[in-house]
Amino acid sequence: MLDVLTGNGSALHQTLIFELRLPRALIAFSTGAMLAIAGVLMQVLLRNPLADPYVLGVSGGASFAALIAMLLGFEAAWVTGSAFLGALFSIFTVFILAQGQGGWTISRLLLTGVVMAAGWGALISFILVISPPDKVHGMLFWLMGDLSYDRPLGPGVFILGLGLLLTLPLCRQLNVMIWGEKQAASLGVDVKHIRLMIFFLASLLTAGAVSLAGGIGFVGLVVPHFVRLLVGNDHRILVPASALAGAILLIWADVLARTVMAPMQIPVGVLTAFLGVPLFLYLLRRSK
């Protein structure tokens, strides 16, 4: 390992680390971080600590589009691109539909998103049913969250960087927003502007994560929740801490996914759920 890093390792080891392991770890890192930040933002937007990045249907749109691309036999890079477009489509549809007269209310936004997600769910089931059996396995892997195939790394890292760069300056305003929009407005926060920023940042980060790695569950819900319990609700600490924790969790989940049943790989989304469900239920019980 050290030899490889200093440039003295064998060609095989060089390839193994720089072309397989490192990119995969970086994808796990950025996906975990994006999901965790998106989770924090979605929780503030919906003012509900149990919201997760997928609640407004972003992942549904991404999954549907990714599955269509897979059905048509596109390559991995196209699947990623298609998923991203699907996510954007879903984001804007929810955004436009949730605007009633006089703007959003949280419940209308939430209901619109949940219903959209349900619609995407039905379309996904439909695609799975009509797809040829040899493709269904890959599709299911994708839906459960999968880091195993080759994919472009750049866009994910870019979206994570952009997301962090735009989220960090908002953090003190997030601290005010959790007390309600009227309170935030009375303390000088431009609530409409911040709400839009939060919505689009959360959506963009989710779109980035889902396009990169499919529907990895529970990172976006459990990590922010867990970090809130550890460091409190000051978002200036919470956001970077969650990003780091999400990244670390996903790297380790991926290591486990590769090794527990080796040579067979488990979709990493299944592992995060295995880790996430009991942890979450434990935290929920303890918090009451």
Partner: protein, 256 residues
Amino acid sequence: MSIKIHNLTLSIAGKKICDSLNVEFKPGECWAILGVNGVGKSTLLHHMINVTETCSGNIVIDDKLLSDYRLQRKLLAQKTGILLQDYEYNFPCTVLEAVLIGRHPFISHWQWENENDIEIAEAALISTELYDLRERSTATLSGGEKRRLNLATLLTQNPDYFLLDEPTNHLDLNAQVNMLNLIEKHVVANNKTAIMVIHDANLANRYCDNVLMLFGDGEWASGRTRDLINAPTLERLYGCSIRSFTDNNETVYLPA
């Protein structure tokens, strides 16, 4: 230096709250806004600091139109602050962290709260008798403690104009008086302005020197408390007959 409301006509959902309202809230004054449920007292209060709403007539805060604060929201938040009826407590933090959000309008974008901000917040906690609870989670507070926390946050913000939407909500008799004493001591006595929506005409009578009454259908009356709070006016305001008792030179009004 004052909040001047000039010729304000405000309607919501087809219902007129006030018609050509003219009133000025000056430093050192304590105002009560009285009226029946749903007449629009809170709406009017919120309207006075909402930079985005449009209305006929105008609101001038310290010689500047309210809508001109649109690009200076933090400046407006240094001048005006509001105690809301309800807050959201979904994300618990410590009591000290909670009141520190009152410093938001005073801290520039990249700065964190400094010693001075924390001193101001702690002083507010001391005056609301929450200092011993400063490390407690907001999730563990009782209704009365939460109300004091809300006031402590507003005291930490320390604006020139305190808008208070039912400050005595959720409070027992003694706590109601304590709350209004605090407002009197920290706001009115410091030559700041308090404008409160309140349902108890007797507390208004005791603590406020000026009253704005909303009768519905846009009718309103404003003036000195001693001129406006009397049985006939209250009967007209609340639409019920009122009995009054006098004890220790203080007149108390009760529904008959």
